[in-house]
């Protein structure tokens, strides 16, 4: 496979704008303050995300979205990952993709416009636990036995319980769906097995892009520390025992970004290897992000083990993002089958 990578200046503009806005709006002190807050997020941010058009970035134009593709989404996810965005943009995006992939035309027409506008908040519940953004969602795309259904947060039989989470920049909830009886118009036409399978490639790519941004931020954070922190009268980054593991993180981050943009290019060009590349990206992302985070904590030394150092924020994000839509082992199991059993 010789993956071709597409790029244009418009993507560079999106990256620059996203980075500027995120840097200004989410300095790490504010991310920490939101992580420590009861809600975990600020509703004003959600309005801004809607105003920027990011909630509907990949939603087709006829439903009010921007109708953009995988490359645009990858750029945006990479930038939000860099800043540990404490707002469920990814969860909403996955729910939007689920509606696009698996909803009926009537459901798309009814629900995508308010999702894009930020009026109705969506969360995707492929499983009843670890539902990102679940506590404050208005509507769930939730698995109910052998179907998926749209379930309103106000549904009397539905119970939404906030989970106590490791990564407090990404909140989640546990749903109890016993007794929820959706009407026919709330049932998605796509089967319960089929929808996650259809969603997985794009979800893997979005997750891998977000993880690439986080790993890249960790690399910058740790390299800057190693260049200035002195022991034995020298910056610790001059020691090969510190320098070489950081370069190993660099090798991982660069390879991960290449796989992410190769996969995104394949999606946008409609090429058949898109899913393979997306799963490769997710497999690589799981390993690289956790490795980058562990090296960040370790190389910050005693300070790295404290809550004051930012490394642990990313470490927790890496650990909790890893299983979503399949960890590295699960991705490699899929890839091995594609490579060996065809």
């Amino acid at each position: 496979m010789n993956p071709a990578i597409r790029w244009d200046d418009e993507l560079g503009v999106l990256r620059a704008e996203a980075r500027r806005w995120l840097d200004e709006r989410f300095p790490i002190a504010r991310v920490r303050a939101l992580a420590d807050s009861e809600a975990g997020e600020d509703p004003a941010d959600w309005k801004e995300l809607a105003a920027l058009g990011w909630l509907g970035l990949v939603v087709p134009e006829k439903y009010g979205g921007a109708g953009l593709g995988a490359l645009h989404l990858s750029v945006l996810m990479e930038e939000t990952g860099r800043r540990l965005l404490p707002s469920p943009l990814l969860s909403s995006t996955l729910a939007a993709l689920a509606l696009c992939e698996g909803g009926s035309e009537a459901q798309r027409e009814r629900w995508l416009p308010p999702l894009v506008a930020g009026e109705t908040r969506f969360a995707l519940a492929t499983d009843a636990a670890a539902v990102w953004g679940g506590e404050r969602a208005d509507l769930f795309v939730a698995r109910l036995g052998d179907r998926f259904a749209l379930v309103a947060a106000g549904e009397p039989a539905l119970r939404v319980q906030a989970e106590l989470v490791l990564d407090r920049t990404r909140r989640s909830a546990r749903l109890t769906l016993d007794g929820v009886r959706p009407g026919a118009d709330a049932l998605l036409p796509t089967g319960a097995e089929e929808l996650p399978a259809r969603l997985a490639p794009r979800a893997c790519l979005a997750l891998a892009a977000e993880m690439a941004g986080g790993a890249d931020a960790l690399l910058a954070l740790t390299a800057a520390y190693a260049a200035t922190r002195e022991q034995f009268g020298k910056p610790i980054g001059s020691f090969q025992a510190v320098k070489h593991p950081l370069v190993n993180v660099l090798l991982g981050v660069e390879s991960l970004r290449s796989l992410v943009y190769a996969a995104a290019s394949a999606f946008d060009a409609g090429r058949p290897e898109a899913e393979t590349l997306a799963r490769m990206a997710k497999a690589k992302a799981c390993d690289v992000y956790v490795f980058a985070a562990s090296r960040a904590v370790q190389l910050h030394g005693g300070y790295g083990f404290t809550i004051d150092c930012d490394a642990h924020l990313y470490l927790k994000r890496a650990q909790t993002t890893r299983p979503a839509f399949g960890d590295a082992m699960a991705q490699r199991r899929w890839l091995a089958a594609a490579l060996l059993d065809s």
Partner: protein, 397 residues
């Protein structure tokens, strides 16, 4: 890539009719292992044939024997040749390191004299950089260049000289000013090899193969016009040469298409093997490792693709070029090691044993893989360079 589609089709059609096939005896795995005259003659004829067809030096200027084609053409040609499993190009040091450097730093007379025979394999090039006392610390080299009459007199001891036995020319680093600072006193020469005072002695590699030499320069007189660039500019040009050697700079005249998929070869191997009485491909641990190699091989290729996209390398432009040799050589080594592990006890058999799978090609690949993690800057030196130039870490030392 699509802009070269016509060219690619031409190359495919040509190689379809002109593939030399298997000579019926053991070819070396790369230009680093050319050990006997039969191999040498066969490979020289092959490069000539490619040159005459226009597939070598495709992007180099026509006045120096090149094809004058646009940027990217050589890469397209190399990829098509690699895909057709065409044999490698013999004059590696000339095509990929010496030639591009001469194009950049050479005088008009040097370019006119040296480049065409280099492309056509009429003259073979070798590299005189490393010395017994100057490996990773290359600038510690002790070979002397003394002004003598109209030219220079060279005294010194060079090692790791690939193709040294066959070479007509050598890109030679020597200390021309012993009083100057370490890096400043070095000059870069395009030195003739077939002259009095140059003695080439074969070194035997751990594979038992030759192809690798040490060269003793003993009062060897070379002309004034052998100097490349200015006196004392040697370190700068050596650094540029290493950029080409590490695949960090573009400009090669050919032979850089990359192998066909090593993972595909590994899978083919695994398909025929058993572990514990069951097909190896049913072992979930084997499957996981194979998938991992597939991910990594694809990432290497995606890296090569992304390196060409300015908008996606703007933040660390040096990273992908500088990591290319490091990442690919370590991947290749790990993959060959895993192949040997899969072979089980048969990995202990060597070339010629009737029971050695693929005539011990994987064992040979594994041993040879260390050439790539050591030559052109060891993996350790490259990690230092990446840490310092790309991550901005303070210098080691």
């Amino acid at each position: 890539m699509d802009e070269h589609e016509t060219l690619r089709a031409e190359v495919r059609a040509w190689i379809g009719c002109n593939h030399p096939g298997d000579p019926g005896w053991k070819l070396p795995q790369s230009a680093l292992e050319v050990a006997d005259d039969r191999q040498f003659g066969w490979l020289r004829d092959w490069q000539r044939k490619l040159y005459d067809a226009g597939w070598v030096g495709a992007e180099w200027p026509a006045e120096y024997g090149g094809g004058g084609r646009p940027r990217g053409a050589q890469r397209a040609i190399d990829q098509e040749l690699a895909r057709a499993r065409a044999p490698f190009l013999l004059n590696l040091v000339g095509l990929s390191w010496a030639g591009p450097v001469i194009l950049h730093y050479g005088s008009e007379a040097q370019k006119r004299r040296l480049l065409r025979p280099l492309l056509r394999c009429d003259e073979i090039w070798c590299q005189g950089f490393s010395e017994p006392g100057a490996g990773s610390d290359l600038a510690a080299l002790a070979t002397r260049a003394l002004r003598s009459g109209d030219g220079w007199e060279i005294d010194g001891h060079k090692v790791w000289t690939t193709l040294g036995r066959y070479a007509d020319w050598c890109i030679l680093l020597a200390r021309s000013d012993p009083a100057a600072a370490k890096h400043a006193g070095i000059s870069y020469f395009l030195a003739p090899m077939k002259i009095p005072g140059v003695s080439v002695q074969p070194l035997v590699k751990m594979t038992g193969e030759g192809g690798f030499n040490q060269v003793i320069w003993s009062r060897a007189r070379i002309p004034a016009d052998a100097l490349l660039g200015r006196e004392g500019q040697g370190w700068e040009i050596a650094t540029a040469t290493l950029q080409f050697e590490r695949g960090a700079a573009e400009g090669s005249a050919g032979g850089q298409g990359g192998g066909t998929s090593d993972v595909a070869r590994l899978v083919a191997l695994a398909r025929g093997l058993e572990r514990g009485g069951r097909p190896a491909l049913e072992d979930p641990l084997v499957r996981d490792r194979l998938a991992q190699f597939w991910v990594d091989e694809t990432a290497l290729r995606a890296n090569a693709g992304r390196a060409l996209v300015a908008g996606l390398v703007a933040e660390r432009p040096a990273a992908l070029p500088l990591m290319s040799k490091l990442a690919s050589s370590e991947h290749g080594q790990a993959l060959a090691d895993f192949a040997c592990e899969l072979l089980g006890p048969a990995a202990g058999l060597w070339i010629g044993d009737p029971h050695a799978p693929e005539n011990a090609e994987w064992q040979r690949s594994y041993l040879n893989s260390f050439a790539l993690t050591i030559a052109g800057g060891t993996s350790e030196i490259l990690r230092n360079i990446l840490g310092e130039r790309v991550l901005g870490l303070p210098k080691t030392r």
